[in-house]
Symmetry: C2
Subunit: 679 residues, 2 copies
């Protein structure tokens, strides 16, 4: 191989008495298994901090421990310095040890096998290796040999490493699993989609390290998981630093890939690194979170994507989300900023927090979606989930913001003619209704709301809200009379394109007649008159009305607001209706074995009465198929397409093929199939 | 006056039933006195938060409280919004109040005097005022009238304001005093210089508000003193955000003003704002701190400049300052970064910290000198001084960095040939030797070291250091044998250009002969041999050797290091020798009365045997003279110059005239004189 040739070249240089290293390929495999790095597609040695790895050094004569003095030198970055941790010599003798430990494992002829143990806070990245030998002529060093470069990663298997996660199944899921599920939709009608994190794919590790380079992150900070995750939360979005992903919520994705179209992180990261840092178009929250998750798992930081249903944002750290009504109780769209998201995805990463008092380590929120600037940049976290749960939001970073995302009250104001606002209703339970993440090692959901909040109405919950107020989170204190009329919008099962009825359920708790003017926005419909104690009123929502604007997120946020004529009381209801899209049918044929050729077909039928134009399909599968793309210029009403591809699985194990379909008129159409590859 | 004309123009517009405001000039003076804003050179009304101020509104007929409905509307920024605090209507009637309170103080004919009380967290800045009147045709508003714009500032006199400082003398000093003293030199030989903060000078308030505009700071954050001071600490330096001042420590100031030459902040701030944000050249720490102090006092935030003698910096939050020696104990200049500053100036500002648990309000460190990035930007603080003292450095912002500045150990390493470092001596008392600030209302020094640290060697000090280590501040733990030889460098009184002897005092605690190789750097001199138990050895330092490189800061940092031959022990000593510069003689003649013409002369004699070329003199005096400048192309050896200017004091009271002289061969030459102006 070319690498052996290079080594021979160096071995010919006879001026030095003792000589050069090889990281033996077989050793490399042994190292990788022990270090849980065997899945990385890479020719380089990849190891984790604090666990010993072994390298073989071939000298030009047998090594004599008593006389020969050498060190294995690890160097990272352009100006290696011992005190900055960018130059680390490792010695083979017990009595002489630096911050990393060295020992001779075995000596055989000219070959010395050396065991090296890195320190738990050493820099994470790609190191160069040299051998320095003490000779009568001074210290002589081997030449640079790029093939012996080595990657050192965080180590969640090591109790000494701040990212230690003491649960093998959780580690398998949150570090080693390339397949993810991301939840969206509504808390009472949850949708899900598969994602290929692809943290072990060829080039992804280099792309993740490149992100820190692009951020000009000092090397000496790159062993600190707190700083690494904070920098990444800023760099995953392109705002203010030319980071990885450009956000776009406009509905117009002409000059990039629609956020709904991606099926995995690999294409995005390789694009970004391949262009030396040109931001990739486009992302919305789940794309930021999914690519961030790849970054975390790739570097060895346990990470997971979570979804918060009804997430407050853009709120200056106050616990108030404002909905402004006019004098008649009708929603004032111009003055109501879109300050509640039907759902929002962020990441959690697992680490000790040595910068905080005990009790705030563990899962930390980091969020790359550019919502609010944190201390001058678009980034968020790491914020301790435990600190959020207990209202201890005085600790860095951005805990008040995360606290508000799950705890804000929704405040309905009536706007007076003179511009002042009067509070007419407070809904304290709408925001942060549920927090979900994928279950460990199977495809189910895991409800982790209780990690963020004490139960609704419990004394602990009240105390936590009071604590947060002490730290400056302002809440609305208006005590409002209970309205004697209630309105609700029940859940609906809607397929895309269907007409459907939004039902308003009114409950009159008084013994008197009540009349209401009620406005429903979402699609704006006017309704008047509630004659009796309990009544359902229906509003017809037609497919043709919502198809061209609201399908992107495949759900419609309805707000019903109104005023009771007799009492002047304001009644409100909020509901997200999830529009269920058709699915792609993904089928696999052939023998599921490593390196065997197999076939996959993706099938779709246009269910609408109109043609779909410029339809983009994507497909990929971790370990079995790199991302592929196919375009159809037109799919006529009622007609079907079938896209077939061949692939050869690269490795054994259980995996998925994930496909998406996307066009301007229909987004968020997914399909997947599971398969298990035999060796 | 033109302003009256404008108002008449509006009064002619007869379509509206009720009418327009004047902030009556006499009222303006009354407001200013009560609000402690009478010193600002400004035609506008300037008031402080939470204290009532009064404006007069002139309508086109007498106001009828029962029928007429109006509001005074305060508007700041381009998109006024009630919920963001950028639109505030104020009503005259008790039963209808918004976040700011209003009341009718007096009605007389067409003129209504209204009292307005702002909220304690309202935005600090320049507001526009309108009157909105309810008419049969809807709400009608007065036209924009720039002359009625109003500035609202922080209020340290108000217990409701987070900047409340409950000490009238401290407020007089830290908010109202335009004259400052900045300490420098060495802790055992302190020098001082006067500074004109000039926070009340014409244009300075607008310049300070412009800094927040230039930072794109959201308006809704500008009522929050924590955010305002943090943004300012980033914006006062030009790094990463085109802030106010460009740092330069190179000794070459050809393209700007040498940091030592400035005598006040006014010129700098007016330059910056006048050029719409072109950074001003050049600054070092005391210039950053002095201009930052102007910003703080100008906006009403109590502020002071402090000097920390032997300040650690550039240290990644570890409590170690590294000095690297070679195998012989000689200082390795290439590997020892200049990581201890003889002194460093920063600011303290006074505020409640609602974002932290109780006990951490009060004085907060903010620092605009670009040393280290804080969270990705060059800025520092606000960090609670109490948190630093108690090692509670888990709270934002940058407390670990400030803690290291005053608590780091100096670690001497011997560098082995293989690149590893061995700790040979630890000096735990060198760094943070003394923290000084100007005394309250007189010109003395105030030692505030005890605000930052418990006494050296006390049990509290040990506990605090342990606490800081729990939060990730790493300390050196090597336990080293006590050396039986000590070396010291005693203090010297040196005038610039003098030859002087640096004496090394050795003390041999053993009863044996000791021989040492000792190196002194500063100017590097070699010395060998210590024959007896106690001995002084002298090293001659010649004026011609240090004149051309070391005079800028007017002090030389000597490090003596050496190795005892018999024991191999390392001995070290560190000393700053302050070189005393000649003074300018500033004399005033004439009658010290407001508006009388007076004369000031600045005298200087070149004490050297060489000519001084391109000599720049500056002079200014708060309230009596704007900054003036004079250049001399040559001052021959032994000759004197005398610069005379006339001035007319603008206001009564005690003040100073401050002058500086600066040229490439001689910097840091100052003079001043006090004078009291009669009304």
């Amino acid at each position: 191989t070319p690498r052996d040739k290079g080594l021979k070249g160096i071995l010919c240089e006879r001026a030095m008495p003792l000589f050069l290293l090889i990281t033996d390929c077989k050793k490399k495999e042994i190292n990788k298994q022990g270090h849980n790095t065997h899945l990385y597609s890479s020719d380089f040695l990849i190891v984790r901090r604090t666990l010993e790895f072994q390298i073989k050094i071939t000298f030009d004569r047998p090594y004599k421990p008593a006389e020969d003095k050498f060190a294995v030198e690890f160097v990272i970055g352009p100006s290696p310095q011992y005190s900055k941790g960018t130059y680390i010599p490792v010695f083979p003798n017990e009595e002489r040890q630096s911050v990393w430990r060295g020992r001779i494992v075995e000596t055989s002829d000219n070959v010395v096998t050396m065991g090296i143990t890195t320190s738990p806070e050493c820099i994470v990245g790609k190191y160069m290796i040299y051998i320095g030998v003490v000779t009568p002529y001074g210290i002589r060093r081997t030449r640079r040999d790029p093939s012996t470069d080595i990657y050192i990663l965080f180590n969640p298997w090591s109790p000494a490493d701040p990212v230690f996660l003491d649960d093998e199944e959780e580690r398998e899921e949150c570090v080693m699993n390339e397949l993810g599920i991301i939840y969206h939709g509504a808390y009472d009608d949850v949708s899900e989609r598969a994602w290929n994190y692809g943290q072990f794919e060829f080039g992804v590790l280099d792309a993740c390290l490149f992100i820190m380079d692009k951020a000009d992150m000092p090397l000496s900070n790159r062993g600190d998981v707190i700083k690494v995750t904070r920098v990444a939360s800023a760099m995953l979005n392109s705002r203010d630093d030319d980071g990885v992903l450009v956000g776009n919520w406009s509905g117009d994705y002409t000059y990039g890939v629609p956020p709904t179209s991606w099926t995995g992180s690999v294409e995005i990261l390789l694009d970004y690194a391949g262009s030396r840092g040109t931001p990739v178009c486009y992302a919305q929250c789940w794309v930021y979170a999914a690519v961030f998750n790849t970054f975390l798992r790739c570097l060895g930081i346990p990470g997971r994507v979570v979804t918060n249903f009804f997430s407050a944002h853009d709120n200056d750290g106050n616990l108030k989300m404002d909905i402004i009504l006019d004098e008649n109780g009708k929603l004032d769209r111009n003055r109501t900023k879109d300050s509640i998201w039907n759902y929002h995805c962020w990441n959690e990463c697992f680490m000790a927090r040595s910068d905080l008092p005990p009790g705030f380590g563990g899962w930390q929120v980091v969020d790359a979606t550019p919502q609010e600037t944190s201390d001058g940049m678009f980034r968020c976290g790491p914020a301790s989930v435990a600190a959020v749960k207990h209202g201890q939001i005085c600790y860095p970073f951005d805990a008040p913001f995360v606290f508000a995302e799950v705890n804000s009250d929704v405040i309905f104001y009536r706007r007076q003619k003179d511009g002042t606002l009067e509070v007419v209703k407070v809904n304290p339970t709408h925001v942060g209704r549920m927090v979900l993440t994928k279950a460990v090692l199977h495809d189910g959901r895991r409800d982790i709301t209780d990690q963020y909040k004490f139960p609704e109405g419990s004394p602990e919950e009240r105390r936590v809200l009071e604590k947060a107020e002490e730290f400056g989170c302002q809440r609305e204190k208006a005590s409002l009379p209970q309205s004697d009329v209630e309105v609700e919008i029940p859940t609906l099962d809607v397929r895309v394109g269907d007409n459907f009825d939004v039902t308003l359920q009114f409950k009159n708790h008084s013994d008197q007649r009540r009349t209401a003017d009620v406005y429903v926005t979402g699609t704006v419909v006017y309704y008047t008159g509630v004659p009796s104690a309990e009544v359902d009123e229906k509003v017809l929502v037609r497919g043709e009305d919502y198809m061209h604007k609201l399908v992107e997120q495949a759900n419609i946020h309805f707000i019903a607001t109104g005023k009771i004529k007799e009492t002047g009381q304001i009644i409100t209801a909020m509901k997200v209706i999830t529009i269920h899209n058709p699915k792609l049918i993904v089928k696999v044929t052939g023998s599921p074995r490593v390196s065997e050729e197999m076939y996959v077909s993706v099938e779709f039928t246009n269910p609408f009465k109109f043609s779909l134009e410029n339809v983009d399909l994507r497909m990929e599968g971790p370990g079995i198929m790199p991302f592929k793309r196919k375009q159809y210029s037109l799919i006529a009403p009622g007609t079907s397409i079938m896209w077939t591809e061949t692939f050869s699985p690269r490795r054994a194990g259980s995996t998925k093929l994930i496909a998406s379909l996307d066009c301007a008129a229909l987004r968020q159409v997914y399909g997947e199939t599971e398969l298990t590859i035999q060796q």
